[in-house]
Symmetry: C2
């Protein structure tokens, strides 16, 4: 039973209604039309439906259906809808920074170790080898991410735009489930980090704008918690599941966002380009 | 609001009860004790709780609490509980077979392409390089999986046990959400494949038995749909989310199952050990 059908049943019971099913059914089950309703099987109900408007860029959510209180005529509406359609794929390659000096007391002291610089070098070479038409390098403003991005950049064309963004800094996105560790003061953990990391997600994860005409490949150099949270959010898994993943320094995590609003994870914590002795997670 | 609290509210409303909250609360919210209740924040309620007894090997579920209708004394019970405890980590490395002849009409004709054999060779070399104390190579009985496992085996010690298992054959585990494709007859798709692939999951994914004294590393050579379904099930994500993942031929997907019943995904579709021209998904 889905949440809405449960709620519906609840409401009907509460109101003492048993014959109002059709009416309420319309109200609660009026959902996005399914392009392949009978996929593989004819009577399957998913646990949780994919939200095609997760990025609020579904064309139907961008066009105002009425003007001065009157409905817009169909031709004009469809024309406006067409103009809002995304056409190409946005690829987002998330890179975790290299190993760093964990004992540093301030961010400036938390710079890459020798191994960390080596990992970043190998990752830069792998990105060069993959030879995608990279659009941007976006990097967290923390020292270890900036340093990693600089080393990676040495292997890539100088024409790629580099952007700094403090929204991408490391933090505690949401208390993990299953829980770990000991109690920590909420104020300095998820309370501030949570909405900031969510803001970063909403900024960088969305389908292509209607103006974008070619597939794009953004490289985002950031942090373990941030990447794991992004993966959960992008795939519409519970966000608090992020700590069920482990992530390797300098690894590649590649997600594609399609014009339809679908999202695919192509690789996660891919570090096969490194020799075993360079594989570290902390 | 969780499903149980929603149901609880529904029941209370239906019954006209508003003051019975404490009583019903006990019945519905009586859950597994939390070891770190106040993790990171003091009042966080997860979307969906991790089921620590997902493999039915939580010690408390293996010890009979009573004998001849009388409760077993605490010392004996705790002793029996201790005997059921898992001590070590089970690592499961899932390998997708190499590229194969898609136009083959029977399984025997669906053998690896030249590129497929090359991918398998590289994957074998990577596994050798990673140098884990591999326990077993378990392979699907389909030609492309057996061939891939054979080529991988050439790089690894001959002492590793090789096991064939038809439960691991390719199939349609569950209709995907979001849906894709066209209608297909249910009888030949998920209806038979679904429980078989779930059976494979329950056979290979569980915490170590109490008798196991050292971490184990099982290599399972199987198929794209099977691996993606396993990942969703192991991480307790909705199983119908499996098609939100894409997977590379010959890639490594590494999961660890801990004695506590926690599960970690370390890498997914890791193919960094292959040159770009060898990266294929179909």
């Amino acid at each position: 039973m889905t949440a809405s059908s449960r709620l519906q049943k609840c409401l009907m019971t509460s109101l003492g209604i048993t014959g109002g099913a059709i009416l309420l059914n319309y109200g609660f089950n009026h959902r996005r039309e399914r392009k392949a309703f009978a996929s593989w099987t004819s009577n399957y109900t998913p646990d949780i439906r994919w939200d095609f408007n997760w990025d609020r860029r579904d064309p139907a959510s961008l066009v105002k259906p009425s003007k001065n209180g009157k409905p817009v005529d169909d031709n004009l509406y469809n024309e406006q809808l067409e103009k809002q359609k995304s056409k190409v794929v946005r690829n987002i390659i998330l890179i975790r920074h290299g190993q760093y000096n964990l004992s540093g007391r301030s961010d400036k002291e938390r710079i890459l170790t020798e191994l960390g610089r080596y990992q970043a070098k190998l990752t830069g070479m792998r990105l060069l080898e993959l030879n995608f038409p990279y659009t941007r390098i976006i990097r967290s403003t923390m020292s270890r991410a900036k340093e990693t991005a600089e080393i990676i950049g040495e292997s890539l064309p100088k024409s790629i735009i580099v952007v700094d963004d403090s929204l991408l800094e490391e933090g505690s996105p949401i208390p993990p489930e299953p829980p770990v560790g000991h109690w920590k003061p909420e104020a300095t953990y998820t309370f501030q980090d949570g909405p900031r990391i969510e803001a970063a997600f909403r900024k960088y994860f969305h389908r292509a704008t209607p103006e974008q005409n070619e597939d794009s490949y953004d490289i985002i150099v950031c942090h373990g918690n941030v990447i794991r949270y992004f993966v959960c959010r992008a795939l519409q898994f519970p966000a608090d599941a992020w700590l069920r993943f482990s992530i390797i320094h300098g690894s590649l995590t590649w997600l594609s966002v399609y014009p339809s609003g679908r999202v695919t994870l192509r690789t996660y914590s891919d570090a096969g380009h490194m020799p075993p002795e360079a594989l570290t997670t902390s």
